[in-house]
Symmetry: C2
Subunit: 403 residues, 2 copies
């Protein structure tokens, strides 16, 4: 069984490593050895054992009937999409770790795979090495999914964990994450929540069986979270995490990416550092949680190669993914009901009177040495919160709560 | 698509409820509706909507060609095994939630299913509603599994959590668990670890691809764990959990069920109350953790019905489970290397001199008002620990550590 890897970066080289290091056990599972025949990349890799396999022309792969499975680990929508389409059209099954591609073109590529009696899988596109796509597709089939909430981005989780534990500022921790290689030079995709947005779009599309467009998801990153917020969180016994969330409320569906304040009893509270965690709530199974390394060369490659093994065991078959072309309309975030953590400037009786005139009686949290205070609102729709908050001067921060 | 349920107890009735309540979404996934045609039970259920479906003779089910799938939720090895064999031999796929049956007869039933071109699945036999069998079979296929450690029994986890949080004694918490219906009148299978033993035997057989006999697994329950142990644990920032564990160490394989002391950074530390959690470590993916409800009518039934859905979508096929007849020999627990938490009577200099003569320098933990003390040994093989411990008089407790 010959495969080709498109893109020899962090994940692509991990795929080559996994296939080599676990060759014996993989061959046992598939029934024959798996061998990397080509690596497509613009670069050369002198000294690397795969150098002799490097090709620069996708058509070499597409036109070789020996190649049954193609691994796409290039990242980005183009040229990955064009290359994947060529491979599928040529009757090759494809697995990808590329969340941008899956979020944007997933349904189209699944259809093309079906037409060509091959498979298009993407376990590694969300949660790195954590099995989540296949469990949603095959294990939670007796349930109606009520909610999916994930810590889906390891970089921001590392940063928030560090801020929580060490009291450092956002700028300090971003610099450190960049120095350590956890955050990129341009960290926008991570810290603005764009990465998590694509991932929750993919999970939601699978969970609810209808297309959730990532462009429709309200997305807020962690750039406004400060060390002061974490001082309050510590005093309250809470933490702040970047959540990608979607949920069903009656006939409505909501989705959002935003920092959320949670209590210690939340299943995702203990998901720290670069780890990812995904909570799925079904109407029968209740709450499940999946935890592991959401990034990194070998863990992500492990998920890619598991897709390869499944496709190798099921040739000339389309492994079914429940993702329909029907678009899922998302409800306005203004109607999403929850509590809000709010900080207001100037710790005076007048200001508190203003707060209570707007929100009714609330409990206050105060930090020594700061001329400000915080409070938690009752449960209310976000639009109602915004309306009421307009009557309070000097609001410094609002963080949504999941408590 | 008609199914039959054998055994209308907690889980069997849950299966009927799931099939009815999620009928629409299940029909969409399968491509046709799923209907319960028969319920096999010794009892009648007057007033229950399934009463008209109750039969008392397995042959009614076996001889009805309309029944394609049989659900076994009776529990116990016999007569469940005989009935499952009859169903498989008649060309019906079977799913079971019965860990005793799977641990004892799994490999035989898988072979029989294969001979008859049908499937034998058992997702619900371990971890209740938590997807773990299918992830091991289909998602972790690129990895060599290095360790599986699970909190696999909700009853004992509830008891240990209660002892940890409230400082109550073992006898008090057992009585409460029985009053609440979490523990049975005869709680032996739970508190002596027999239930966890069967579950870790099943998981280990799948993870390492060879038969692990539950009779070979050293099994120790929680009956010797006291409120005093938890006082030390609290002081040390640790907790005590009942672990079913198996691991690969070089060419050796170990398996054990025993109470284990863990730190707050262990992935299973936050698995409390009746919840289950299963940690799987692969050589590529590193540590994963799966968390959810390990028991209960609807969560367990959710896993059973997910098996039904998969079998309904793949008729006349044997869904493959990697479980070989080759027996996996387990290494002697005496060679398992770890740290040990030890309590000794009489807090005197002489006694500590005895401890240090045997174990070398150790750090002590002392509780006010108790004429005893505790210490943590360096890492050593269990046989070595036992040899050294024989030189210390009045050892009150030994708890293995995973730190």
């Amino acid at each position: 069984m010959k495969i080709a890897i498109m893109g020899y970066g962090t994940i692509g080289s991990g795929v080559a490593a996994v296939v080599e290091r676990n060759a014996a056990s993989i061959a046992k599972r598939v029934g024959e050895p798996i061998e990397v025949k080509y690596v497509l990349d613009l670069r050369e890799f002198p000294g690397d054992p795969i150098q002799e396999k490097v090709v620069h022309d996708i058509d070499v792969i597409v036109n070789d009937p020996e190649v049954a499975i193609v691994v796409e680990t290039m990242g980005g929508v183009e040229p990955a999409c064009t290359f994947v389409k060529k491979a599928l059209a040529a009757g090759k099954s494809v697995t990808t770790s590329n969340k941008a591609l899956v979020a944007k073109k997933g349904i189209e590529l699944l259809d093309l795979a079906k037409e060509n009696h091959v498979s298009f899988l993407f376990e590694a596109s969300v949660g790195g090495g954590i099995p989540i796509i296949r469990p949603l597709n095959q294990c939670l089939t007796a349930d109606e999914i009520l909610e999916i909430t994930g810590i889906l981005n390891g970089t921001t989780n590392y940063m928030l964990t560090k801020m929580d534990r060490e009291g450092v500022t956002f700028d300090e921790v971003l610099k450190e994450a960049q120095d350590k290689g956890y955050a990129e030079k341009d960290p926008t995709a991570d810290i603005e929540g764009f990465d998590a947005c694509r991932k929750i779009a993919i999970l939601s599309s699978l969970a609810y069986g209808s297309q959730v467009d990532f462009e429709d998801i309200y997305t807020e990153g962690i750039t406004k979270i400060t060390d002061t917020d974490f001082k309050y969180a510590r005093k309250m016994g809470t933490s702040i995490k970047l959540f990608g969330t979607s949920k069903r409320a009656g006939e409505e569906f909501y989705a959002m990416v935003a920092p959320v304040m949670i209590n210690a009893d939340h299943p995702l509270y203990a998901v720290n550092d670069v780890f990812n965690g995904i909570m799925v709530e079904g109407n029968m199974v209740d709450k499940l949680m999946f935890y592991g390394r959401g990034a990194g060369s070998l863990p992500t490659a492990s998920a890619v190669v598991a897709d390869v093994v499944e496709m190798a065991k099921n040739p000339h078959t389309t492994l079914v993914t429940s993702w329909s072309t029907k678009k899922l309309p998302l409800a306005d975030k203004g109607t999403w009901v929850r509590k809000f953590f709010v900080r207001a400037a100037e710790n005076t009786e007048e200001k508190k009177a203003q707060v209570e005139a707007a929100f009714g009686p609330v409990s206050y949290i105060e930090l020594e040495g700061l001329n400000e205070f915080a409070f938690v609102t009752p449960e209310m729709a976000e639009a109602e919160y915004e309306k009421k908050a307009a009557f309070v001067d000097g609001i410094l921060q609002m963080i949504r709560m999941d408590v």
